[in-house]
């Protein structure tokens, strides 16, 4: 547990003076994500530690490089957890990297994302100023929401040093149901069930099977299991863990992994392709060699977006393109935080 924020500030100021570019990472577990870039390594792996944790306030503050596994262990002692279920990527992921990449697990449609749970941050901007935004309270509308703006920015607006986030109780009971079903039927079923007031907290389709997770008060879970179709899976939590950590067979191999974030009811497309449908239809993983521009058109048709999550050509664009009006806003905002474009230049888009 150590605080290296002053070293980080000094490093930014020195990089600025020398005209260096910085390649920022947390603990490096998601170096596969985003575009390949050049820059001096700046790791937050040594900037760790839980700064504050008040279980009854449902709030924790941790340094950005703190491993998720360390955070989860402390939360578990108090019967709490990160309700956004972030993937730990073999236990390596940090809280800062998780937030910068905005990665959340299977419960995301029901329990919210890491972006939803973040309450405040400390951030070093491109002028080497160490700033405080948001706070440690649930509601805070003073000033712009600079904290949540970092979600998915992959460090290109600044170096987050501390993050405050909401934590939640561990559900009393969790059960998983499975049943045979084709993809179009599964998409419809997931959406119909999500519209009922039952404790559904995950819905995934893979290999012609629909998996549904129920969690919450024991009585609610047990009663719903009796009413819904499907068989209880013996070690259901292991399935969701393997899905979240990308340890299922589906994720093996070098073939490019695409991620569609779509309207949950979007029709199943390329039915002959290799698919895994998660988030009740709103997150769809797809394998194979494809062209980003072509898939962007499909994503738009599905009222969503696509990105090349892992593998493939990482020197070209990997994220869904921005409209020209949005591109202008992105560039101006980048300049407002990082006028010399020190941080992760090109990691998100070649032009950023």
């Amino acid at each position: 547990m150590s605080d290296i924020s002053q070293q980080l500030v000094d490093r930014v100021i020195s990089a600025r003076g020398k005209g260096e570019k910085l390649s920022i990472s947390g603990r490096g577990s998601k170096s596969f994500l985003g575009r390949e870039i050049q820059g001096e390594e700046l790791s937050l792996a040594a900037h760790t530690g839980i700064v504050n944790y008040h279980p009854v306030e449902l709030v924790m503050t941790a340094r950005a490089g703190t491993p998720l596994t360390e955070i989860e262990a402390v939360l578990h002692e108090q019967g709490q957890r990160l309700s956004f279920e972030p993937p730990t990527f073999s236990g390596e992921a940090s809280i800062g990297g998780t937030f910068a990449c905005n990665l959340s697990g299977p419960g995301r449609p029901w329990n919210g994302s890491v972006r939803d749970m973040v309450l405040g941050i400390k951030l070093i901007n491109g002028r080497g100023e160490h700033l405080n935004f948001g706070g440690q309270v649930m509601k805070n509308v003073a000033g712009y929401d600079v904290s949540r703006t970092q979600a998915g920015a992959m460090g290109s607006l600044g170096i987050m040093t501390e993050i405050s986030f909401k934590v939640m109780p561990i559900p009393a009971e969790t059960l998983t149901l499975v049943q045979e079903m084709d993809a179009p039927q599964a998409i419809k079923t997931m959406n119909l069930l999500a519209a009922t007031p039952k404790p559904l907290t995950a819905a995934c389709w893979l290999d012609n099977k629909l998996y549904l997770r129920l969690s919450g008060a024991a009585s609610a879970v047990e009663d719903t299991v009796k009413q819904w179709q499907g068989n209880v899976v013996e070690d259901g939590n292991h399935f969701w863990w393997s899905l979240n950590e990308q340890k299922l067979d589906f994720f093996n191999g070098d073939s490019p992994l695409w991620r569609f974030s779509t309207k949950p009811t979007a029709e199943h497309f390329y039915p002959a392709g290799e698919w895994l449908i998660d988030w009740g239809g709103a997150q769809r993983w797809f394998r194979g060699d494809h062209d980003l521009q072509k898939l962007e058109a499909d994503a738009i048709e599905a009222n969503g977006q696509v990105s090349l999550f892992r593998g493939g050509d990482r020197r070209g664009e990997v994220f869904h393109r921005q409209s020209s009006a949005s591109e202008i806003l992105h560039k101006r905002l980048k300049d407002a935080f990082d006028p010399d474009r020190l941080f992760n230049p090109g990691r998100l888009y070649s032009w950023l």
């Binding site: 009854v56 306030e57 449902l58 709030v59 019967g79 919210g112 994302s113 972006r115 939803d116 700033l131 405080n132 706070g135 440690q136 309270v137 649930m138 509601k139 805070n140 509308v141 003073a142 000033g143 712009y144 929401d145 600079v146 904290s147 949540r148 703006t149 979600a151 998915g152 109780p169 561990i170 959406n191 999500a194 519209a195 007031p197 039952k198 404790p199 919450g216 008060a217 024991a218 009585s219 609610a220 974030s261 309207k263 009811t265 969503g304 977006q305 994220f319 869904h320 921005q322 409209s323 009006a325 949005s326 806003l329 992105h330 101006r332 905002l333 300049d335 407002a336 998100l348 888009y349």
Partner: protein
């Protein structure tokens, strides 16, 4: 928010206009009011290009009526193309634009600019689509908050954020303020329930932000826009998430002899892993005022009252209400009462929901503050507030979103008594500074607007405020969108901090 009518503070040439706001336009040759009105009348129905004083008058303030200003013009366009043309004309001539929903805001965020136009979105009041299977609603920005849930109800769905102005306030205004309500702890704020918006930029361009999926690539501009108080763009379309209506909701009321006990009871509920749908607290002034007003059966001798709502499946609610009841007993509740049916649930909530007007009956005027604090600081904050109340010679009643730490102190005063409003305003400012001192913030859901612009300098340092100005300039390089609101100019921050620190010794022991 100020209850009942009192004196109003005219803004023209006032210290705020010079100090916290926008400095006026450059020396460029600007069209006159008449010239502008005729320009806009070329493409907007002239009946909705308002330039006469009598018709402009209702627009001079929002829900915080003590701050008011007459605009140059009020425009009520009917199409997005008209909004785009308004924006580009105003951009060309550097005319300030203040977007307005229903005008229910409580921080003077929609107060007009004397040199500018008010852009009312009132005519954009259509629900464009409800997609029951995807559980979304596509809306024009002027749709009322409650109208969304009413329209979704037929599908067994509703829109979760429920600010107490929900009968009148609009979804566009909710996005501008990141509105909350009594169910935030479990169901989140506006920012957690909006998927996508269409925005017209200050230059008149349309940009889509967000997606019908649950996330999108690039910077999270949707989070940045939510709560930006009309300073970054004008929202012209909104897609929100809808949730299934729960099978059952039940409320349990508990009375306590001390605020500390009630606060401990809240902590005990959370510690047991229970996240109530709503968890509200009232202090003795608020209890008595509400009981006199609605006769809900609140115990009037209690020092603190909790209302805890639990929702979920039938079995779950039954199980949880039992647990909460036991916790309240263990924590020393003097009375508990569980709603037996929907009628009783509505009655128990009625007192809380009418707490503001109820307090309005025991005082000529009241001033509602909106700070947030870590829940554990509640007893300390309330006792400090009692000391301030003695110091300023003004009573204060408290209602508290206990689940999420959002405090609404209601300062009672008489606007017709000389200097009382100024005293109430100073008292309010000190409460907000106290909130920051204990680790909270100056506004949980009402926004900064003009009202809290001075206290921004207490919550943020100059570098942070400069970063906010950088963000503003990225969206609005000329600074014509809602000028003078939300983010103070730096010079005034330094002045306010020195005045505030000088006056600390004269106020009561603000936590250090």
């Amino acid at each position: 928010m100020i209850g009942s009518s009192g004196q109003r503070r005219r803004w023209t040439g006032g210290i705020f206009q010079q100090c916290y706001g926008y400095d006026g336009m450059s020396e460029m040759n600007k069209p006159s009011q008449r010239e502008l009105a005729s320009m806009f009348s070329e493409f907007i129905d002239p009946n909705f290009v308002i330039d006469d004083a009598e018709t402009l008058r209702p627009y001079e303030c929002d829900g915080l009526s003590v701050y008011c200003e007459m605009p140059l013009l009020v425009l009520l366009p009917e199409t997005i193309a008209q909004v785009q043309r308004v924006m580009s004309i105003c951009h060309q001539y550097h005319i300030p634009i203040v977007a307005r929903g229903a005008g229910t805001g409580l921080s003077a965020g929609a107060m007009p600019n004397i040199d500018g136009v008010v852009l009312s979105l009132a005519k954009f009041n259509k629900i464009l689509e409800i997609d029951a299977l995807a559980r979304t609603a596509r809306l024009q920005p002027g749709v009322r908050n409650l109208a969304i849930s009413e329209a979704a109800n037929g599908y067994g769905l509703y829109y979760a954020p429920d600010p107490s102005s929900q009968i009148a306030c609009t979804i566009g205004g909710n996005i501008a303020e990141n509105s909350g309500g009594v169910h935030c702890l479990k169901y989140g704020l506006t920012v957690h329930n909006v998927l996508k918006v269409e925005m017209v930029t200050v230059e008149g361009e349309i940009v889509t932000i967000g997606s019908e999926g649950l996330d999108f690539c690039g910077f999270d501009l949707l989070a940045l826009l939510t709560g930006s108080e009309g300073l970054l763009g004008v929202i012209t379309e909104v897609t929100v998430k809808l949730l299934p209506v729960q099978e059952k909701a039940q409320v349990i009321m508990a009375a306590f002899d001390t605020v500390q006990q009630a606060g401990d009871a809240v902590a005990a509920v959370i510690s047991q892993g229970i996240i109530p749908a709503g968890l509200e607290m009232m202090d003795s002034h608020a209890i008595r005022a509400a009981e006199d007003f609605v006769h809900a059966g609140y115990p009037v001798d209690a020092k603190a009252l909790l209302l805890c709502e639990v929702d979920g499946t039938l079995q779950e609610v039954h199980e949880t209400i039992d647990k909460v009841n036991r916790i309240f007993d263990q924590e020393g509740a003097t009375t508990t009462r569980v709603s037996a049916d929907e009628k009783e649930r509505a009655l128990l909530w009625k007192g809380r929901k009418n707490a503001f007007p109820a307090v309005g009956r025991i005082s000529p005027d009241y001033y509602c503050m909106d700070g947030t604090i870590p829940r554990g600081q509640l007893a300390f904050v309330l006792s400090e507030m009692d000391k301030m109340s003695v110091h300023f010679g003004l009573r204060v009643a408290n209602v508290f979103h206990a689940g999420d730490g959002n405090l609404h102190p209601l300062i009672l005063f008489d606007a017709n008594a000389d200097g009382e409003f100024e005293k109430a305003e100073e008292f309010g400012g000190k409460i907000l500074e106290l909130c920051v001192a204990v680790g909270g913030c100056i506004t949980g859901e009402h926004g900064v607007g003009i009202e809290k612009i001075r206290q921004m300098a207490i919550q943020f340092n100059d570098l942070e405020i400069a970063q906010f100005h950088g963000i503003k300039a990225a969206f609005d390089p000329l600074g014509t969108l809602n000028p003078g609101k939300g983010i103070p100019v730096l010079k005034r921050c330094q002045e306010y901090r020195s005045i505030a620190s000088a006056s600390v010794s004269t106020a009561v022991g603000v936590a250090s």
